[in-house]
Subunit: 159 residues, 2 copies
């Protein structure tokens, strides 16, 4: 085992590292409200970014729902860049900042495959409150301005 | 342990499933040629896509070089959609086809973070030859048309 030191630019993001388990709720003008279970993981390899992976599942029967993977890149000045691939056929670029244990990100670019839904914008807020990690996600679509979509909270379960 | 059945649309991609280890070579008009080691993994959760993760490292000292993660989505008609997040700050959408054990993909969309290099297009060919998986990748940049960049080959080392 070799312990890899965190890149200095990533130190402000150290509070994200590890595996997190939690639950969330979704709502949107075009769908029925729903609840979900989520596993979230941030890790690093010594470079100035964290790797990110999450997956959600149904609370009733555990069937897989949504999945995302990507890289959260840290600048020298607390600026952030987030690139994300989503299983539903989206490739996103977000930019934002980290301030203490609060992260705010806004999409600058949402790429869609030919069969993906018409998502046109995403805003994410991620924050630590005590030992709980939280996020909220708002989404814009072709006919819907940026509107609250997801809200979830997590406890750390592993490295 | 529960074995999850492959989604019927993903069956033509079953030859990709597993963990692959290999080596490759890179070249491009703007850089010195280089060699690298690579670990590649495709897995699934019963949905009509494969999850994808790869990372490359230096042959001399094993230091991490590049990383990508994403989802390879299969249509009903052998059409493919690939969404990829890259550690260097790219979020890509590619479309293509699978024909036997040969996959061809072309980017339709390359999103870049503010600090990413000016990559404007990617073409990937992935194929199985005997028990070896191969890929070739060509890349276009602001001042360079689509040009061969990477070539690698792999042996399956695990599920």
């Amino acid at each position: 085992m070799v312990t890899i030191e965190l890149h200095p630019q990533v130190r402000p993001l150290a509070f994200l590292l590890g595996t997190w388990m939690g639950e969330g709720e979704g709502e949107y003008p075009t769908i029925q409200p729903f609840r979900y279970r989520e596993e979230l993981r941030f890790w690093h390899n010594g470079k100035p970014f964290l790797a990110y992976q999450q997956r959600t599942s149904a609370i009733e029967d555990g069937r897989p729902l949504h999945g995302e993977m990507g890289f959260l890149r840290a600048g020298a000045d607390q600026s952030l860049e987030f690139v994300i691939a989503q299983g539903i056929g989206l490739a996103e670029v977000e930019v934002g900042t980290v301030d203490g244990t609060r992260i705010e990100l806004q999409s600058t670019f949402v790429g869609r495959t030919p069969t993906a839904k018409a998502v046109s914008g995403v805003r994410r807020v991620i924050w630590l409150e005590g030992e709980r990690l939280h996020y909220e996600l708002a989404m814009a679509m072709a006919n819907v301005p940026l509107t609250h979509h997801l809200s979830a909270r997590f406890q750390r379960t592993g490295d």
